[in-house]
């Protein structure tokens, strides 16, 4: 599903440049539940941005769903994001003046789907994440856990190939974190590729595969015991 070969990325800082990713190789198969572990500055967010087509890379090859990603203009990237990728952010990134339902329906709007149809589908996904009854509430009226559920529903609503979660539990307490991870696990069991970025050991431990990143290189890549148990 995601295949990365010798990926390099650096950011210009003044006249110098900061080499963040130093030749990564990574292959994630369809339906995998993978976590990228690393401390801040390890390059994990950069990796997610590149995988999520939110940012370009300098060198190496990146295949998404078998398609080589190169020379992507903004418009093509937007379409691919909409079609293949769902995002879950640490700070939720819900649009504050839209209700939960409208937030979830927004990706479908950009697919050009009709209004009624959008709402039916969005409601279905809100139901799936267990907060159907909060559909008409604004983000400011929802708890952190509920907001993240709305964000997950929004990430799923286009039925993408990959769900990218950037510190999805970073702003949540441990109980809520647990239930959000449960939800992500459930999604991956249904066959969706889920890609989680975190710096918390126990969160990473909840996934099937942990890729450790340090100073722009992969230091370890191992399956967790859960996978063996499953």
């Amino acid at each position: 599903m995601i295949k990365i070969e010798k990926l390099h990325k650096s950011y210009p800082i003044g006249k110098d440049s900061l080499h963040v990713l130093k030749g990564l190789d990574l292959h994630i198969k369809e339906g995998e539940f993978v976590s990228i572990m690393g401390s801040s500055g390890s390059g994990k967010s950069t990796l997610l941005n590149i995988v999520g087509l939110l940012d370009g890379h300098d060198e190496g090859k990146y295949y998404l769903n078998g398609q080589l990603i190169e020379n992507l203009d903004e418009k093509k990237a937007a379409i691919l994001r909409n079609k293949f990728l769902g995002f879950v952010f640490q700070s939720f990134n819900l649009i504050t003046y839209k209700t939960a339902l409208e937030n979830v329906a927004l990706p479908l709007y950009y697919q050009g789907m009709g209004r009624k149809e959008r709402q039916v589908i969005a409601l279905k996904y809100l139901d799936k994440v267990g907060i159907k009854e909060r559909a008409d509430h604004l983000p400011s009226e929802l708890s952190g856990g509920e907001k993240q559920r709305v964000a997950i529903a929004r990430a799923l609503v286009t039925n993408p190939k990959v769900v990218l979660a950037d510190e999805p539990t970073g702003a949540l307490d441990s109980t809520t974190s647990g239930s959000v991870m449960e939800l992500l696990k459930e999604i991956s069991r249904e066959g969706m590729t889920v890609f989680v970025i975190t710096h918390e050991e126990d969160i990473a431990a909840g996934t099937d595969r942990i890729v450790r990143l340090r100073d722009g290189v992969i230091t370890s890549d191992e399956k967790t015991k859960q996978k063996v148990n499953a």
Partner: protein, 410 residues
Amino acid sequence: MFNLDRWIEMFQTLSKNKLRTVLSGFTIAFAILLFTLLFGIGNGLKHTFERDFAGNAQNSIYINSGRTTKPYKGLQSGRKIQFRNDDTKFLNEKFEEEIQFFSPSIERFNVQAIYKGEQNRYWVGGVYPDYQPLEEAVIQDGRFISVLDVKQRAKVITIGRLVKKDLFGNKNAIGKNISLDGISYRVIGVFTDPGGDNDERKIFTPFTTAQGMYSENDELDYFGLTYNPKLKVDQALVFSNLLTKILKEKHNIDPRDQGALRVYNFAEGAKGVQQFMMVLNVIILFIGIGTLVAGIIGISNIMVYIVKERTKELGIRKALGATPSSIIGMIMLESIFVTALAGYLGLLIGVFSLKAIGSGLEEYFILNPSVEQYVVVGATIILVIAGTIAGYIPAKRASRIKPIVALNDE
């Protein structure tokens, strides 16, 4: 292409962000309102001047007599200069070429006019038929003084519209007899005058009749004439100077004496008025452009602020699959809609305010404040375009920002 969903999305964004919408709308509405009011009031001033300086033929010259202020050729100063019928003849023969219309006049102020129970006091002038184009009087009913009236010393009068209104109300005045200082005159005509109220409270009678009214003599009060309209302003001034010089010679007046003869050449006034109107126009234009520029700057600032404020939202939309063009389209649609609607609102309020003011400010020299429709519509279009451009530039920039940068924008 009309897309209902886009409009629904826009209305939702606008109504959920009321402060923002109202703020940008208010700027535009207020700019247009100010523009309309200032422009309208400026036009009101213009109308007042147009009215006050209209009312007499622009190529007319009036010659009045006074007392000498300098001794000349053994004659003392303070001597009264009196025009007589031979002056009429003299001028007529001397300037046959240059003169278009010419009428000697006798004037009496505060003449009591009585018709049945109604009475009032008016200015009465004894004139020749040529006086009608001089005064630019327009006959509404009946006729003006004729050559025959002058020849026959007929006791007839042509009265101003307001004289008729005062004495006759809505009734017919033609053929009725009015008493002027105890002498009965038959009304033969009613006239209107673009010069306004004062000029419409006048009464004209044949020159010869007026000359014989109080005493039999050949005295007269002043001359009114228009010169050949083919003369240019400068030529007209030369003509009036020559006229003055010759008339001074005839009456033994020192050429430097300013008091004995007073010559009003409207060409001089017209020149001044024209210059003044031009200055007024420039001021109005300046005010208008200033208001517009202020409005444009205002809406530009707000648009920049709005887009800045929405950076994160735009980042979210992009992450969810919004293309750059859909982002630009969204912002533009909103800004055009808001500016056009608010601009129209400001326009309506402005135009209605001007209507409401109407003649209420006439004592401050503001007459019928109004704006030409094309001016205001043009101004509104300019502001809408400005708002669009002001929205487009930051929208374009926002659409280029990488979503990840926008998302990190707190």
